[in-house]
């Protein structure tokens, strides 16, 4: 064996260890969701699953069947409904407003442009928990605590900066000459935007949207304080409620965790390529 082959083996060996380290924690949770409580609690541990079932998912979604641990203590369906309504609405509004803003930054030069850009990004820096305090005070005065509208409003503000960052980068990749040609041919500025720049940056905007959706779907610090009941609590808050129970039902919690991760999994795979280009583009080309 020559030096090169040894090198290759070493590289692959470390790559495999790396993959194990990265995948195991998540896969262990997924596996637990399908295992009976007895196996999970067994000592010494049962490593190879003897039987797998869907009881936890049935309990969670349909309120339990015979032989399971009884009714699910967490109203998962209400939480799912809230998560979907809040995430979809806030994403839609954030992408709408953010794309317009990103276009403004990409196509116009004005005084202190970079400072405004940085200022908008800085609003994203504020820790969720710090922002939640004054918003909690305001919302309880005007009655927006525990409502969809209140939480949507906060999520829109949370997602706009990143949408601007991403769309600004994508718009700048489109040569200005294209819309200028259209405008000399008699298009208005709006028509040029609608027929040329918007279709060309479609995939970029889509990935900004998916990214915003994920942020909303995964958010915890703000919702946990602004939501009080099943009227507006989301799945992440539901998972936390589960841990606070006196007797922890690990397989049940894992089932809920799987439920939360699936949409995130699918969506992230869809955007992974655009995300990297979008984030590094603005940074390197200046």
């Amino acid at each position: 064996m020559n030096k090169r082959q040894i090198n290759n083996i070493l590289i692959w060996f470390s790559a495999i260890i790396l993959i194990i380290l990265i995948m195991t924690p998540g896969l262990w949770v997924v596996l637990t969701a399908f295992r009976p409580q007895v196996d999970v609690m067994a000592k010494p541990a049962v490593w190879i699953p003897r039987n797998l079932n869907l009881i936890q998912f049935e309990t969670m979604l349909f309120g339990g069947s015979e032989g399971s641990m009884g009714r699910s203590p967490i109203p998962v369906l209400s939480y799912l409904r809230n998560s979907l309504i809040i995430s979809f609405t806030s994403t839609f509004i954030a992408v709408l407003v953010g794309t317009i803003g990103g276009y403004g930054f990409a196509r116009h030069n004005f005084k202190h442009k970079n400072k405004y850009f940085l200022l908008i990004m800085l609003t994203r820096t504020i820790p969720g928990i710090s922002l939640s305090l004054p918003i909690f005070i305001i919302f309880s005065k005007i009655g927006l605590i525990d409502t969809h509208i209140g939480i949507i409003l906060v999520f829109v503000a949370l997602n706009i900066p990143f949408t601007i960052w991403l769309t600004d980068g994508f718009f700048r990749q489109i040569p200005r000459a294209m819309s200028e040609v259209a405008m000399t041919d008699g298009c208005t500025k709006l028509q040029a935007f609608w027929h040329i720049e918007l279709p060309l940056s479609r995939s970029g905007i889509a990935s900004a949207g998916i990214f915003a959706f994920l942020i909303s779907w995964n958010e915890y610090a703000l919702v946990s304080n602004l939501a009080r009941s099943t009227d507006s609590k989301t799945l992440t808050v539901g998972l936390m409620d589960f841990t606070a129970q006196f007797t922890i039902n690990w397989p049940g919690m894992c089932a809920l965790a799987v439920f939360i991760i699936i949409p995130a999994l699918i969506l992230t795979f869809m955007v992974q390529k655009h995300l990297v280009t979008g984030l590094t583009f603005g940074g390197v080309k200046g």
């Binding site: 803003g101 403004g104 116009h108 800085l122 820790p127 305001i138 992440t236 936390m240 939360i260 280009t277």
Partner: protein, 295 residues
């Protein structure tokens, strides 16, 4: 009017209005509240101005400074380790030609987990009774279960592990993007001139990667407060405040003890901490970018 409609401001107006209403105005209220003894249970106290009393008390508050110091230390260790691991992973994947894309996709796995899920997953792994970690150690003869999330030092290490697991891939992915963009000519020229791999790495690869390091750092510094979700899930700041970070302390003071005035004073300090982190790395990014374009 016509000039306004054609200019950038009409495009930025919706953004500015929303951010003003949802972020800026609440922050002003927050600032005011930090100068009052406001308690949720006594609404009238919102209108009583007490000057810097909350801040003065914080300066003498031992618990606050412990949490503050722990937060800074936690971030310093976590971010540095994430950078080192991320760089290592990026260099490794860069060496692999067959299956590189698949590896890159697998690498993004942790990025899909919300912080609350990361916290849950590691809470389960580090559970002293049925967790993966203790079950695994038992196979090797460690019968006495290790109290990962109960012991002060171990709990901090466990939280750190969760944080590093969830964020290293951000560095790995962005640094890999940087590595793939490095022009091949200077590297080959340097090798012909007799540079060894360490010299090539130090003098060519690393300077080229620096902007990407700072992009990753800037992006990370935007959401360092995500650690709140992880800690809240894994230990809730306990046991006996031994894993308390600034953010869990704020939430306890504000919502559990209902001392909103004090919590807002703390949260202003946390906001300045976050902004300082972001500014620092953004400044470094601009600097590295300029140096690269001069050379």
């Amino acid at each position: 009017m016509r000039k306004f409609l054609n200019g950038p401001w009409v495009l930025l107006m919706p953004t500015l209005i929303i951010l003003t209403c949802v972020v800026l105005l609440p922050l002003l209220l927050s600032l005011w509240t930090s100068f009052t003894p406001f308690k949720l249970t006594k609404p009238d106290t919102l209108y009583r101005f007490v000057g810097f009393r909350n801040y003065e008390r914080l300066i003498g508050d031992f618990d606050f400074w412990i949490a503050f110091g722990r937060t800074v230390l936690f971030l310093a260790i976590a971010l540095n380790l994430e950078l080192v691991f991320g760089l290592g992973i990026a260099l490794l994947i860069n060496k692999i030609t067959y299956g590189q894309r698949t590896l890159r996709t697998l690498m993004m796995f942790p990025m899909m987990f919300s912080p609350i899920l990361v916290g849950f997953q590691w809470k389960y792994i580090f559970n002293d009774n049925i967790g993966l970690m203790n079950n695994f150690l038992r196979e090797f003869g460690v019968i006495q279960p290790i109290p990962w999330l109960v012991d002060g030092i171990l709990a901090n290490i466990s939280i750190m592990a969760a944080e590093i697991w969830s964020s290293t891939s951000v560095f790995a992915i962005l640094l890999l993007a940087g590595l793939l963009g490095i022009p091949k000519d200077p590297i080959e020229a340097a090798k012909v001139d007799g540079c060894n791999s360490w010299q090539v790495f130090k003098n060519i690869t690393l300077p080229f990667l620096m902007p990407f390091v700072f992009i990753a750092m800037t992006i990370r510094s935007l959401d360092v407060a995500r650690a709140y979700d992880i800690v809240q899930m894994m230990t809730g700041g306990g046991p006996a405040k031994r894993t308390e970070l600034l953010w869990t302390l704020i939430s306890r003071t504000g919502y559990v003890d209902a001392k909103m005035g004090m919590a807002n004073a703390m949260s202003y300090i946390s906001i300045f901490l976050s902004i300082a982190f972001t500014f620092f790395f953004f400044y470094k990014l601009v600097e590295a970018r300029q140096r690269l374009s001069y050379e």
